[in-house]
Structure formats: structure tokens, C-alpha cells
Symmetry: C2
Subunit: 207 residues, 2 copies
């Protein structure tokens, strides 16, 4: 009776979208994580259709041609994308599909599928954002500067989103997102037969 929706959780690097996504998935069982497609080779523990959809490059490019991705990108030496079919099938079944994605990806989705619910995750301060980037510890000073400066620029795209959530404490950010989910589930446009919801349980004037 009710359709689900695509929840796009996005933000600059250092906003904590990975951590918040994981916490959100753990706190509820009515969310399905979107499965990406990729042309890279599966790692030993990865299962096709579970961690990723693994496609040959020609299959992937053919799908790009046919518009079968909500968004896709070339990263390092491989393609990554979000197949429409998986997302739309889940939505039809009434599921909430969570897609954690960078800002560029979210802006692509906004163009192709604006029915999605777009949440922009923000760090509490730029100092904290820099701390978070530094704490990853895997990058050079130059990489860190680049990431930081990209993150700063990406804040300008918040205006393209529906909602913003400041990720100071993970629990509070999750509570904000849960309120958005609660509210979106009450949206009239995703429900058919609201009148029947009330009238099917009896209610003729003559009863």
C-alpha cells in the first residue's frame, strides 16, 4: 500500500556519513542498504549481489548507455554506480533504501531522481572536520589539505538538499535522521488508499 523511498545520506569527507550510516542501519530493521555496482574485481570475502554487483566493464558501460544507473563515477581505475533496478524494486516493495554517497554523486541523483530524500551531513566545525580527516592517518599532508579544501567548497551545495543534519554526536545525528524517516513515512504522496485505511474496517452509516 505504501511505497518506500530512497534516502540519500551525503556530505563532504569528514562529515562522518559512513559512521552515521552504520549506526542508523544498526538501530532499525526497516532500512535496506543500496548495493552498488562496480567493474573492480571482487575481494576474497565479497559476495556478488550482496557487497556489490560485480560487472564486466562492457556490461557496465552498456548499462550506462541505457540509463540504468541513478549515478555512476570513475574512481581510480574502476567504475562504480547505483543500479536503478535494485533501488526501484525495493521502493516498490515499501522499503527505505539508504544510499551513502559523496556530494558529487548526490548531485547526479538529484538530476535523475529528485523523488529521493536528500540529507546533507555537516561536521560541527571546520576544525573538527580537519581533525576527522587527519585521524584517518592514511594520507599525506597534501592529501589532507586537498580533502579539506574540497570539503569546504562542497558545503556550498547544501542548498540542493532537502534536509541538513549537523553531525556533532553520532546519536543525535541518527535521531535527526530517524525523525526525517518517521516524517517521510507519513507522506501522503507515497500512500495509496488512505481513505480505505479508515473505511475498510467497517463504518457504513447504517451499521
Amino acid at each position: 500500500m505504501a511505497k518506500g523511498f530512497l534516502l540519500v545520506l551525503s556530505g563532504p569527507s569528514g562529515s562522518g556519513k559512513g559512521t552515521v550510516s552504520q549506526a542508523l542501519m544498526q538501530s532499525r530493521d526497516d532500512i535496506v542498504f543500496s548495493i552498488s555496482a562496480t567493474t573492480r574485481n571482487p575481494r576474497a570475502t565479497e559476495v556478488d549481489g550482496e557487497n556489490y554487483f560485480f560487472y564486466d566493464k562492457d556490461v557496465f558501460m552498456d548499462m550506462v548507455e541505457k540509463g540504468e544507473f541513478i549515478e555512476h563515477a570513475f574512481v581510480h581505475t574502476n567504475y562504480y554506480g547505483t543500479p536503478k533496478k535494485f533501488v526501484f524494486d525495493q521502493i516498490e516493495k515499501g522499503e527505505i533504501v539508504l544510499l551513502e554517497i559523496d556530494v558529487q554523486g548526490a548531485l547526479q541523483i538529484k538530476k535523475n531522481y529528485k523523488e529521493a530524500v536528500f540529507i546533507f551531513l555537516l561536521p560541527p566545525t571546520m576544525d573538527e572536520l580537519r581533525n576527522r580527516i587527519v585521524k584517518r592517518g592514511t594520507e599525506t599532508e597534501e592529501d589532507i589539505d586537498t580533502r579539506f579544501s574540497n570539503a569546504f567548497k562542497e558545503l556550498d551545495f547544501v542548498g540542493e538538499y532537502d534536509f541538513f543534519v549537523v553531525n556533532d554526536k553520532v546519536d543525535a545525528a541518527v535521531a535527526d535522521i530517524e525523525a526525517i524517516i518517521h516524517s517521510e513515512k507519513l507522506r501522503v504522496k507515497r500512500h495509496n488508499g488512505i481513505k480505505e485505511l479508515v473505511t475498510r474496517k467497517g463504518g457504513s452509516k447504517n451499521e
Copy 2:
């Protein structure tokens, strides 16, 4: 920095919008109740600008002419309306303004001010709706039938609203509305300077 919004809580008679509004007002202090204007005479305990704005009929009609009401209606022998000025002033100050109103009034507001957040309150079943109408005890069988049949027809207008809330238990209905409020407070479009929210607390690359 953040603008407030007009929350229109509406539904057929018997949906319980009065009860839910009162419970909502009691549960939080960030909501202002919209003050209606009327041409009827004040009762002994009523204060102008608090219970109602009391206007002479010519003043009221002049305001109607000038488009100074979000909605207005003639009920029995008097006019009632929602003055734009009060609502818009509160919204500018960042307040959430709650307006409890019948379906016809809400549809008028939808035409004049679609930026409002529209919630349709539903009874759990038509039997329960009938019970609630009967329990008022102040009406004839014919009045009850008329109210019931109007309520049934008004359910068709749910499609004009943003959200629907089934009022089975008042607490659950209030929780639904509070989630909608929580979510609407996170809307990007009502905030200016989200980027500044993050960057004002320091955060130059060179710190």
C-alpha cells in the same frame, strides 16, 4: 537565522484535531497557537489579541478585500479568519505556528500559502469517528448523520495534504506530529547560512 513555519492541523469533525492540538501545545514550548480574528462579540473572559482578534464587521471586510487573511469563513452569523500578519510575523521570528482548522479552511490556505506544512488527521475507523461525533452529545440524530457524511466525503481531500496522521491514540498521533516538526526544522530551505553555522567557529586551513 532559521525561519519558522505554519503547521496546519486539519481533518474532518471527529478526527480529534482539537484534542491533539491541545496535547501538542502542552508537550512543547516552541509552538505558538495561531490567533483567529472574528466579528463576533467577545465573551466576558476573552481578551482581544489573546483568544481572538475582535474586529468590527467593516474592518474585517476591508481586510478581506485587501487579502489580509490566509483564510476566512462565515459561520452562523459571524466571520472568522486567520490574519496573515500575526502568522507571518511569528514565522519570521522563527516560531512554529499551529493552526487547527477544518478541511475547507485548510484547502483555502493551500491556495493562498502553500509553504505551510499540511497535516491531515484521520480517525482510526469510521465507526470510531461516529462514536466520537455521538459522544459530544449536543446534537440531534440528523446533525450526527450530516456530520458523519461530511466527514466521510472530506476524507477524499487527504491527497491535498503533505502528511497524514491516524489518530487512534492521542499520544501516538502527537509523536507522529512531533517527528514531522523535528524533520521540518531540519529543512534546508528555511535556513540561511548553514555553511556559516559550521565555518564561523574557526576552521581556516591555516589554524
